[in-house]
């Protein structure tokens, strides 16, 4: 795509790739995604099947140990990981898409439209999102992965909208936008070639934040028993662990390991995001 070739030569990309934090974050994230892909292929069990003796700590046969009822925690985790990443991706895309559109329009158009959109953004931002999700999820008879992702995506977009709006406003007042306007460019070309293209590295960073936000919200819901009605998810595993008093019975692996994998994924994304933040603004780039 013509636009992508432009961005490749961009100095930001050079600094992004050479940043240590980005490298650490990316490799960790890659490992976890690999686990989500390979895991379900190599495991001998299904996540519902009674794989062996219950109450069994991590060992050669059961890498993450077994639950009280004898299900294999490793299998449950890797399958749960898949659904979590999928939800995070879809939700992140939706939230970023809404956020970018609202941010661009509010930032570029300004005036009354800007005030109204920002009012909406602040209203959604002030909400404790989980509370809203609980109410909506409670009433949804069927909760599939996609409509969970859509649901969560609809509540976390304000972060993108605010960030994109401030960037759009500063880019709008730049001279090359004036030059495009006196070259009689149409508004869409200005919005995409002049404004969005220069924000691409920024939008990518914000997408990572949305991806993280969606995962945290979704797993939170699953933990409260409001996750997808069918299939397994990380939140569900941990909810079962808490419900069956796994910790009191000493089965730390049942509750802690799935959460640890999830936390490592979030940490890896956090490293990428902080690294990109350093790569993209010189002031943070400490020699």
């Amino acid at each position: 795509m013509f636009l992508w070739k432009k961005i490749k030569n961009n100095e930001n990309i050079y600094y992004a790739i050479t940043n240590v934090k980005v490298q650490i974050g990316f490799s960790l994230f890659f490992l976890i995604v690999l686990l989500a892909i390979i895991g379900p292929m190599i495991t001998r069990y299904t996540y519902t099947e009674f794989a062996g003796p219950g109450y069994h700590p991590p060992s050669g046969d059961y890498w993450f140990g077994t639950t009280l009822q004898g299900r294999d925690v490793f299998t449950q985790t890797v399958f749960g990981l898949r659904s979590t990443i999928l939800v995070g991706f879809i939700g992140g895309l939706i939230a970023s898409f809404i956020g970018v559109i609202i941010g661009l329009v509010a930032g570029y158009k300004g005036g009354l439209l800007d005030e109204a959109l920002m009012m909406l953004t602040n209203v959604v931002l002030t909400f404790p999102t989980l509370a809203v999700l609980i109410i909506v999820a409670a009433y949804l008879p069927y909760r599939g992965i996609v409509n969970m992702a859509v649901l969560v995506g609809l509540t976390v977009w304000p972060w993108t909208a605010r960030a994109v709006r401030s960037q759009a406003m500063s880019l709008k007042s730049s001279r090359f936008v004036d030059l495009s306007r006196i070259s009689a460019n149409n508004v869409f070309r200005i919005l995409f070639e002049d404004i969005a293209a220069n924000m691409f590295s920024y939008i990518f960073m914000v997408f990572i934040l949305q991806f993280m936000g969606t995962i945290l919200a979704t797993v939170g819901l699953e933990f409260l028993g409001l996750g997808p009605t069918r299939g397994i998810s990380l939140g569900l595993i941990m909810q079962n662990a808490v419900n069956w008093n796994a910790l009191e019975l000493g089965m730390w692996w049942w509750g802690i390991i799935p959460g640890l994998i999830l936390t490592f994924m979030i940490v890896s994304l956090y490293f990428i995001n902080t690294g990109l933040d350093e790569a993209f603004n010189p002031k943070l780039r400490e020699f």
């Binding site: 404790p128 509370a131 109410i135 949804l140 933990f223 808490v242 959460g259 936390t263 940490v267 943070l284």
Partner: protein, 329 residues
């Protein structure tokens, strides 16, 4: 100054209005009829059938046109009549909320304020000290990335089970009678500690990282360079940089409140600590719609009130806000 207030107030009123509307809309337009499922729960209760039937129909006003139902809903809201809880029948929802809020506040308030203060200090320290920065930051990244409920589970396991120095559920031991007696207070505090500790630690990371980045910006700002070239010691440069770094962290507090309260719901779930969040989750699991709606509204109001207080504090301590609203375009 007035403009700043006006804008903020408008947002909060709009938010409250939207929250109430969501509350009213959802049960009426969601697929499946929550009223029937609620009534279904009362097959067993003899005699109660008719009372509940009339009570729900009347409070939902299903016979009146929608607009009346809506206005009726608002009127009952202001009268404080949030309906009756089913699980703890017939206690009015407003009472349950009133004493649940107390548990919320005593955990969230100290946790947030302490993590904000210590987080900012730690962030500033690592912003000025490169060596500390290299090992403090990864720790804060881990803290701020760990989901609230998972961290709660780890805390329960480490402090509650392995070390067994703190109880891991409920606000006080079931045998105790609440009152201002010393044993009760000690028992209460021991139950309070782990939820508080979880909220504190998970929150700490975010503030530290935010402040560290702010300090790096402020350290390189022109006013810092000017002070140094006129002979100001590092201590003064740090004090000025910290002052300018702390202000945006106050607005950060307002923005993070939504996420913090969401976190509180999950932490209360793990510790079965009877705050609003816990009540709300119970209401969901028992399909107790009135309690669910009531606790949702209470949570939103709490978030709005906290936001408003933070805005006032920010407006007072940041001269730029006061000045910027005098300066013309």
């Amino acid at each position: 100054m007035g403009k700043y207030f006006g804008k903020k107030l408008a947002i909060y009123l709009a938010t409250f209005f939207v929250a109430v509307t969501i509350n009213w809309l959802i049960p009426r337009f969601m697929p499946g009829d929550p009223i029937l499922s609620m009534l279904a729960q009362f097959q067993g209760l003899e005699g109660g059938q008719e009372i509940i039937q009339s009570r729900f129909v009347q409070s939902f006003g299903l016979d009146q046109p929608l607009i009346y139902q809506y206005l009726n809903f608002w009127r009952s809201l202001f009268r404080g009549d949030l309906g009756v809880s089913i699980t703890i029948y017939p206690r009015p929802v407003i009472d349950i909320i009133r004493n649940s809020i107390l548990f919320d506040i005593i955990v969230v308030l100290p946790a947030v304020s302490l993590s904000w203060i210590i987080g900012n200090k730690a962030g500033a320290f690592s912003g000025f000290n490169k060596k500390a920065d290299s090992f403090l930051m990864p720790f804060f990244y881990f803290l701020t990335s760990s989901p609230y409920f998972w961290f709660a589970i780890v805390v329960v396991y480490v402090f509650g089970i392995r070390l067994n120095i703190f109880p891991t559920s409920h606000a006080y031991s079931s045998g105790m009678t609440p009152g201002f007696t010393l044993p009760f207070i000690i028992n209460f505090i021991r139950h309070w500690f782990l939820p508080f500790f979880t909220m504190f630690l998970v929150g700490l990371g975010g503030w530290a990282i935010g402040m560290r980045n702010m300090i790096i910006y402020e350290k390189k700002a022109n006013y810092s360079e000017y002070m140094k070239s006129l002979g100001a010691k590092d201590k003064m440069v740090r004090r000025y940089a910290f002052r300018n770094g702390v202000l945006p962290q106050v607005t950060g507090l307002a923005i993070q409140l939504g996420t913090i309260i969401s976190g509180a719901i999950l932490v209360q779930m793990v510790f079965s600590y009877p705050g609003l969040g816990y009540r709300m989750v119970q209401a969901v699991q028992n399909q107790d719609y009135f309690l669910l709606q009531g606790s949702f509204l209470a949570l939103i109001t709490m978030a709005l009130a906290a936001n408003f207080i933070v805005d006032i504090v920010y407006m007072i301590i940041d001269p730029r806000i006061r000045a910027s609203y005098k300066e013309e375009k």
